[in-house]
């Protein structure tokens, strides 16, 4: 009986990387853009998608992927629109991964832009490349104005950071400027937007961003 040590150097994220590249290749070949929308439960991700479809549904052909642990509520909300929508129930997983997206991506071969709502949390979704072109992280002021500082990694790796529900800032005593500064401190190249999806304040910045993507 003797002890053996096998030295390995196996990349355990390789499979996700491979499938993300496959997704990216598909998108590129078809000339489709995809946005991975991350953020906590209740930050406003589904409402952002709804308002985007309302505002741009006539000029841009959208597809929507909705990641959720089990709940079908978001799917019911988006089904009302005339767009292709694929819900992904992640089961035990608290994030989407490239494999799950790979299963449904073929459906969207004729759209201009895929909006992907990731599972609601500010932690692990950032570790999983889906093959998307842009990463958007949405937070609301009701999560507390220290939420950006507490989750630096997801903001560091985002292209767009949205601070939502700003009309409620006063009521919850959240300092919007602090949130913006925290975001810039960790990621100075990201576009930082503040908005309120109920009042519509600041929403045109997002609409302009989306329009520019597909042009």
């Amino acid at each position: 009986m003797h002890k053996i040590e096998i030295e390995a150097e196996i990349d355990l994220i390789a499979e996700n990387k491979r499938l993300a590249e496959e997704n990216r290749k598909f998108l590129k070949e078809k000339g489709i853009k995809a946005i991975n929308i991350m953020g906590a439960i209740g930050s406003g991700k589904t409402l952002l998608i709804e308002k985007t479809l309302d505002a741009l549904g006539k000029e841009i052909k959208f597809g929507v992927i909705l990641g959720d642990v089990v709940c079908k509520a978001d799917h019911e909300r988006i089904k009302k629109y005339d767009v292709k929508v694929e819900p992904i129930n992640t089961g035990k997983e608290c994030h989407l991964d490239a494999h799950l997206v790979n299963h449904v991506i073929d459906v969207f071969d004729d759209v201009d832009l895929i909006l992907i709502e990731n599972v609601g949390n500010l932690v692990c979704p950032v570790d999983f490349d889906l093959g998307e072109n842009y990463r958007v992280t949405m937070v609301s002021v009701t999560e507390g104005d220290d939420v950006v500082g507490k989750h630096p990694e997801i903001f560091r790796l985002s292209d767009v950071i949205i601070i939502n529900k700003i009309s409620l800032a006063e009521a919850v005593e959240a300092n919007i400027e602090k949130m913006i500064q925290d975001a810039k401190k960790i990621n100075g190249r990201a576009i930082v937007m503040k908005m309120d999806l109920k009042t519509g304040e600041g929403f045109e910045d997002w609409i302009n961003f989306v329009r520019n993507l597909v042009e």
Partner: protein
């Protein structure tokens, strides 16, 4: 859970290739910037390995440090930041995002 599954699948494959009989431990290296919780990973590993030849083996976890330093003055940082607080230069972040199966310890023979 998917990380734990990846460990189990890859370790089992390796065990078969190398014809390992009794595995004692698996060592993985986690990038410190990944948001994997080590305790949770160990727990998930137990669940994912149960019913396989890895059941009851120890999961050893090492960390891969990230190199975080200012590209202008070279100042090093413990956590990522966009601009250097000394000189205002860009701070580069290298590594800290890998997740690797490093080592399998086993016993073979009679």
């Amino acid at each position: 859970m998917s990380f734990a599954m990846a460990i189990v699948e890859n370790a089992l494959k390796m065990a078969e290739e190398k014809n390992l009989k009794r595995i004692e431990s698996i060592t993985v290296k986690i990038g410190e910037l990944l948001l994997i919780n080590p305790e949770q990973l160990k727990f998930c590993y137990q669940a994912a390995s149960s019913g396989t030849m890895l059941e009851g083996t120890e999961l050893k976890i090492e960390f891969e440090r990230a190199e975080i330093s200012c590209v202008s003055c070279g100042k090093k940082f413990k956590t990522p930041i966009y601009l250097c607080d000394s000189c205002g230069g860009f701070v580069s972040v290298q590594g800290g995002k890998n997740f690797v199966l490093k080592k399998i310890e086993a016993r073979n023979g009679i």
